[in-house]
Symmetry: C2
Subunit: 334 residues, 2 copies
């Protein structure tokens, strides 16, 4: 696949450089670590600090979500690989105000190890209280019985939004953690993959699918899904995915959800809205109300083809957090 | 190319249906014409009405830009083809307040004809004062001597932003038109194409490029560019395009510009920020200051690979309009 880059070995550095220049009113890089990004005014207000991060290649996730009402800082890894503990620690040190640091990341082995080490370093070496919320929204990645093994995908947007808004609204560390965990427990996602992306350094596709095939439940790095099938209609795929999510969440009539239809990279807004159209009808049929909707590229896999559906079960505590304004380089809500 | 759709003949209808459901707090459809979309509160405030539109397949353009601080209404055409006059007329009728209607669209034969007819119908049959601004920012599509023949591409975002903000701020019809024309005169764009998109109905690629080729100046519907070449580095492409824009605009040291790096569909944020990084360095070298930056998918060509650079020359009158808030389904600025 063609890429408009300079040197495959420096894509992340050049991306960060361009990003910081383009959005210097909102985000800063840190001298202490070139892979740490923080809000320009981080630390200026006494609040819980929210730090996110993960591999590159998922933009707008993760660094695109640093800003008012979202994360205070992000640690940027190489493409599809976890950042080491150091940029996490530095982002936390640069943004914390003594009210605690909450780390949010997806459930991948490398992230679990590195963010876990960052928590230890912060607590033991820096005397900064740090806790973590590990996102596990991809219901295709493990059964409900083994939900602890599930990976994190696009639903992390909702979890980050909740944490960022709760911190901004001055909730205590205990409450920010509790609300973030509540969002995390009440979000479920599942995707479909149509075409692979390729890594700049290898140029090789992340997986192989025939011209008439799709893969239900495919992971954000090309991890195998639950079913490889002939490409069928959007309606059919939507019904298949949405029903699994509804069953997994145990959603009942009269419940309220927020919906995220996430594009993986090269899937058009047209296709995402066609999918939303069916999601809305199906939820209505089941008597489930949509509270708020998000349609677009929220967590990509480079130029992968495909998309995912995420539902977040709403309650009176989560609603004002999802409604709260946000101002980040790659996401604004007003 | 694989598409997640139901029926190729109903993609636009289903997209609109999903779009209106997802964003019902911001936009409404019109009973008078299913291809007319207006702001929910259109007509409630005495101001110039701004109507945009064009073919589908360019989302977020055009319907994604209906909302506070941007357009009051949009007419939605079939994929890559102009809407007929009727949805333009209906959007204008539903949103105008007697202060005039400004139509903004790109310089394509079908749009010129249909929006032109809409102006006539509004003026003669409906007694609504209507004027038009035709966007011609693509400097690769004709020489400076034949600038009237140039097509409209991503720079239309800046023109719409200017018009929407000016109307919102209560400028007179004459002034909204004058400011919109000023933005239009002072914006220049040029793109590069890497890979084609395909139309849902035919499945055929919009153009053909070899695996190691790119096309400088390629149009938003696959119209031929100015140069087909071997794919080279991002820096090289950026330098080539940016220099042409700077020369065409006659930009001089100490001038200020806003920058838009627009992705055509499947080009990653990573690549767009790498391009921005070089744009910033080159402008700095030339003593040109960047006022505000936009990086992302602002006007796509389905899943086409490639991107464009747009520069808008700033002055004290345009700055507050570019800075003004906007709240649309596919674009929020705060």
């Amino acid at each position: 696949m063609k890429k408009l880059i300079n040197d495959p070995d420096s894509v992340v550095e050049e991306m960060i450089s361009g990003y910081l220049k383009a959005h210097s009113s909102i985000v800063n890089g840190l001298d202490a670590n070139p892979r740490s990004i923080i809000k320009t005014n981080a630390g200026s207000k006494d609040k819980v600090s929210v730090i996110i991060g993960g591999g590159s290649g998922h933009e707008p996730a993760f660094m695109g979500y640093v800003g008012a009402g979202m994360a205070d800082g992000a640690a940027v890894g190489n493409i599809f690989s976890s950042p080491p503990p150091d940029p996490v620690v530095e982002a936390a040190k640069a943004s914390h105000t003594g009210s605690g640091v909450l780390l949010i990341y997806g459930n991948y082995q490398g992230d679990v190890m590195n963010f876990g080490m960052a928590v230890d370093i912060l607590e033991m070496d820096e005397d900064i209280e740090a806790r973590e919320v590990v996102v596990k929204d991809d219901i295709a990645s493990a059964s409900k019985e083994e939900a602890e093994k599930r990976r994190g995908i696009a639903g992390e947007f909702f979890v980050t939004k909740t944490a960022g808004a709760a911190a901004e609204q001055g909730y205590s560390f205990d409450d920010v953690q509790r609300l973030t965990e509540k969002a995390n427990r009440n979000v479920a996602s599942m995707g479909v993959g149509l075409s692979p992306c390729s890594l700049p350094q290898t140029g090789k596709p992340s997986f192989v699918l025939a011209d008439d095939e799709m893969e239900i439940g495919l992971g954000h790095h090309g991890e195998p899904g639950v079913e490889r099938d002939k490409l069928t209609t959007s309606q059919h795929v939507t019904e298949r995915i949405l029903n699994d999510i509804i069953i997994d969440m145990g959603l009942k009539q009269k419940e309220e959800v927020s919906v995220l239809i996430n594009g993986l990279g090269s899937t058009t807004r047209m296709e995402l809205y066609i999918m939303y159209d069916k999601v809305e009808s199906l939820l209505k049929e089941k008597g489930i109300t949509i509270y708020k909707s998000y349609v677009g590229d929220y967590s990509t896999s480079m130029e992968m083809g495909g998309c995912s559906i995420s539902l977040l079960r709403m309650d009176d505590e989560l609603k004002p957090l999802i409604d709260a304004p946000a101002k980040c380089p790659m996401y604004t809500q007003s």
